[in-house]
């Protein structure tokens, strides 16, 4: 597949967070290069104990190896920092477990390339026709509930606040490089984007079954997760100074 001609003059990078994904990360990198051979790939290895880093390097990706597990938020932000400091114009985020299909990146990138959005999120639920996505009942209810609350807060319909399949322009990269939530970050990040008056759009995507590894959210942790995220969102609403000064953390 040939890359979009509008991409040609842009410095573009794929950020791939991976934790013990040695069986899937090679395929993800191959598919990213098949989508666009000029796309740099940086794999953020969040403390894997398997051969994820070696496999990724062998496939020609840059690998940022974190000395210990930071959790998905810290791992992804490492990628955004790398993209920001190396002056990339466009970044896409694709998970290393293979559930995001790089073949659909064209659709996710389109609003960013058109200049209509700073951040685009591939949503499993934006289009009912495409929603072949399967997961446990409680998980679906949780995702729906969060989407409803976030939609209320930001005043725009958001259907999938937990999706990590994203494309960002320079503004989006700069924001996330400076400030990105911890633990399970996407919900808080969505609210943050609106608080900074950046433009967020969703496009419908289809996600695949996870190729390997396990979801970072187990059943027991989801209650803690919901409470923590809701607390963070509501307290965050009372913050006037939304961006922390560099080094204040």
């Amino acid at each position: 597949m040939g890359a979009d001609p509008r991409l040609r003059d842009l410095r573009r990078i794929a950020i791939v967070p991976a934790l013990n994904e040695q069986h899937t990360v090679a395929r993800v990198i191959d598919e990213l290069h098949a989508f666009d051979e000029g796309l740099d790939v940086v794999v953020v290895d969040d403390g894997s104990v398997d051969a994820t880093a070696q496999v990724a390097r062998a496939k020609g990706a840059r690998v940022l190896r974190l000395p210990f597990n930071l959790g998905i938020g810290g791992a992804v932000q490492t990628g955004f920092r790398f993209a920001f400091e190396n002056d990339y114009d466009i970044a896409v985020r694709v998970d290393g477990d293979g559930q995001h299909d790089p073949g659909q990146l064209g659709r996710v990138l389109e609003p960013v390339l058109r200049g209509d959005a700073d951040i685009v999120v591939g949503s499993r639920f934006a289009d009912v026709e495409l929603s072949g996505y399967r997961s446990s009942r409680t998980r679906r209810i949780g995702i729906r509930l969060l989407a409803w609350i976030v939609s209320r807060i930001v005043g725009q319909r958001v259907t999938d606040t937990t999706s990590g399949f994203q494309a960002l322009n320079r503004e989006g990269i700069a924001l996330f490089a400076r400030d990105y939530p911890h633990d399970y970050p996407e919900v808080e990040a969505t609210v943050m984007v609106f608080r900074h008056r950046l433009r967020l759009l969703e496009v419908p995507v289809e996600m695949r079954e996870r190729g390997g590894g396990r979801s970072s959210i187990t059943a027991l942790r989801s209650i803690y997760y919901m409470v923590k995220v809701l607390l963070a969102i509501f307290v965050g609403l009372f913050r006037r100074n939304v961006v922390p000064e560099e080094g204040s953390e």
Partner: protein, 115 residues
């Protein structure tokens, strides 16, 4: 029965604790992850202080007949122990990570010096 002054003072003090924790999160001096246990502590103590009949009932279950507010102290103490134990695990994790960081730094410096 709990003296009214104790109930009022207990409820106000615990509620202030909740407000202080929320303000610390808002000003980014406390992470949500470490705030949850404090918030639960504050909320439980606020409820137990304000809900006088409940405190009496619980005191009855625990065999505390003479002075129900003792249950407030016991619950407060229990939560403080939980917070401290939680912090001990956090400190252990941080010191493990610190060792790892120092080792990585030493290896990197050696690599750079060897060029």
């Amino acid at each position: 029965m709990t003296p009214l002054a104790v109930s009022i003072f207990g409820a106000i003090a615990s509620f202030v604790l909740v407000l202080v924790v929320l303000e610390l999160i808002r000003s980014r001096r406390l992470r949500e992850r470490y705030a949850l246990l404090w918030l639960v502590t504050g909320i439980v103590l606020t409820v137990l202080s304000a809900w006088r009949d409940g405190l009496n009932t619980i005191a009855g279950w625990l065999g505390v007949r003479s002075y129900p507010p003792a249950v407030l102290f016991a619950v407060g103490l229990l939560f403080i122990l939980a917070v401290l134990l939680h912090y001990s695990t956090v400190i252990s994790r941080l010191s493990d990570q610190n060792v790892l960081l120092a080792q990585r730094l030493a290896l990197l410096e050696q690599e750079l010096a060897g060029e």
